[in-house]
């Protein structure tokens, strides 16, 4: 994408396909707040969650990935505590 020259991909193993799919659905429900400056795609590939970010600046990319990591960790901790 011309407007979003900066990209990053997170590949997160979940151990089970079921849990990767739970994480995908939980994390996909909320849009990124700065939707005009960053795009995000989330997919589950078997037991792996694959998240791709594209942003208009490196700063935006860093902020978005950092924020997403906090959400991801929360979902993983919920699974640890209650799965």
């Amino acid at each position: 994408m011309a407007d979003f020259p900066h990209a990053a991909t997170l590949t997160v193993p979940f151990g089970e396909a079921r849990l990767a799919e739970v994480a995908r659905r939980s994390l996909s429900a909320d849009q990124e707040l700065s939707g005009d400056r960053v795009s995000r795609t989330i997919r589950a590939d078997d037991a792996t969650l694959v998240v791709t970010f594209r942003a208009d600046s490196l700063r935006m990319l860093r902020v978005t990935v950092t924020g997403f990591m906090e959400s991801l960790i929360l979902v993983a901790r919920t699974m640890d505590a209650f799965a």
Binding site: V22, A23, R25, S26, L27, S28, A29, D30, Q31, L33, E70, S71, I73, L74, V75, R77, T78, M79, A81, F82, A83
Partner: protein, 355 residues
């Protein structure tokens, strides 16, 4: 009514739209089944209602980032505590209710993430709840107020609400700041502690106030404007601290703002022909506000209903309460539609558990 199969709904409620994180569990019992067309009036059993509050140091307000971090840190132990208090396992639950909005984005999102994940792990329906409707339904359940004018006063909201045709309609509201926000901000000017809450500490100071200082009184039709009063009283506190004691300032601030709320509430009662007032939201704990409202209501031959800190301060069981009523009517929120929203007005909810 009657004739139907008995039905029990046990709902878990998660609330974190501001600086309180709450987890509650409620049980609704319909001995004769859920009536298809009548108002839902289940027997309500409180099974758990636990809360953890994020308090910044004196002089500081809470920031969404820090509040969200608090909720993320606290939510697992709080969930476990609620389930333990209720003596329940996840399989005993019927639905998971969470606050969809309104509120602060990051904290709402953190709690919603946990709610969505639990709903999938435990294979339970998810129910998105309007925070304001949660307050109203919990207030009605606790006080037994049947069809009251609702004064909803908190850190983020100031509304006068009346029920009509399956909608909680907003009759009047603040045109700028919420009343709790004004009280919190003035507490910061005076460097009052945020523990247990800034509003509580203002209330204690106000009790010792003796001299009424005239402040701008701004009622516009059914609405109030509170921002100007705050600016005015802040200036007095900062520029002429020797002239006015903090106690007198707190007293005068409360008297003025509460009088404005009493005025618009009374007008709503007259419009609707209601004799009842229900006060909900964190500022609803304020005994002076309850007293002023009770005086007005008594003069009209009416009555005030209020709850204590367990229910008027943000909590989880109110989300479970409103969610369980909607769920009994078949409402659920698919995961894909479970996004949170900072703006979600009280009158956007279809109240189909009432008639």
């Amino acid at each position: 009514m009657g004739g139907g199969e008995p039905r029990t709904i046990i709902a878990l409620g998660l609330e974190g739209s501001a600086n309180k994180l709450g987890v509650g569990i409620v049980k609704h019992v319909y001995a004769d089944g859920v009536p298809p067309s009548a108002e839902l009036r289940p027997e309500v059993v409180e099974l758990a209602n636990v809360r953890d509050t994020y308090n910044p140091p004196p002089g500081e307000g809470f920031l969404p980032r820090d509040v969200a971090a608090h909720h993320r840190e606290t939510i697992m132990p709080l969930l476990k505590q609620a389930l333990a208090e209720a003596g329940l396992a996840p399989r005993d639950l019927d639905c998971i209710c969470y606050t969809k909005g309104p509120g602060m984005g990051a904290p709402l999102q953190a709690v919603a993430l946990v709610a969505r994940t639990l709903a999938q792990l435990w294979d339970l329906p998810l129910v998105g709840v309007n925070h304001c409707v949660g307050h109203i339904e919990m207030g009605r359940a606790i006080t037994g107020a049947d069809n009251p004018i609702v004064l909803y006063v908190s850190g983020g909201n100031t509304q006068v609400i009346a029920y009509s045709q399956q909608t909680y309609r907003i009759f009047g509201e603040t045109l700028d700041s919420a009343i709790g926000n004004c009280l919190d901000r003035f507490a910061r000017v005076l460097k009052l502690p945020n523990d247990p809450s800034p509003g509580y500490n203002i209330e204690q100071y106000a009790k010792r106030g003796t001299k009424y200082i005239e402040l701008p009184y701004t009622v516009k039709g059914m609405d109030v404007s509170l921002g100007g009063i705050l600016t005015f009283v802040e200036r007095l506190a900062k520029t002429e601290p020797e002239k006015h004691t903090p106690e007198d300032l707190c007293y005068s601030l409360q008297e003025t703002m509460f009088a404005m709320l009493v005025e618009i509430t009374e007008r709503a009662m007259a419009h609707v022909g209601s004799q009842e007032v229900l006060i909900v939201g964190g500022v609803g704990c304020n005994l002076r506000l309850q007293e002023m409202m009770a005086q007005m209501a008594a003069e009209r031959g009416g009555k005030v209903f209020a709850t204590d800190m367990r229910y008027c301060i943000d909590n989880g069981i109110m989300i479970a309460q409103a969610g369980a009523l909607a769920f009994a009517r078949g409402f659920a929120t698919p995961i894909e539609d479970s996004w949170v929203t900072q703006r979600f007005r009280t009158d956007q909810v279809h109240v189909d558990w009432r008639t």
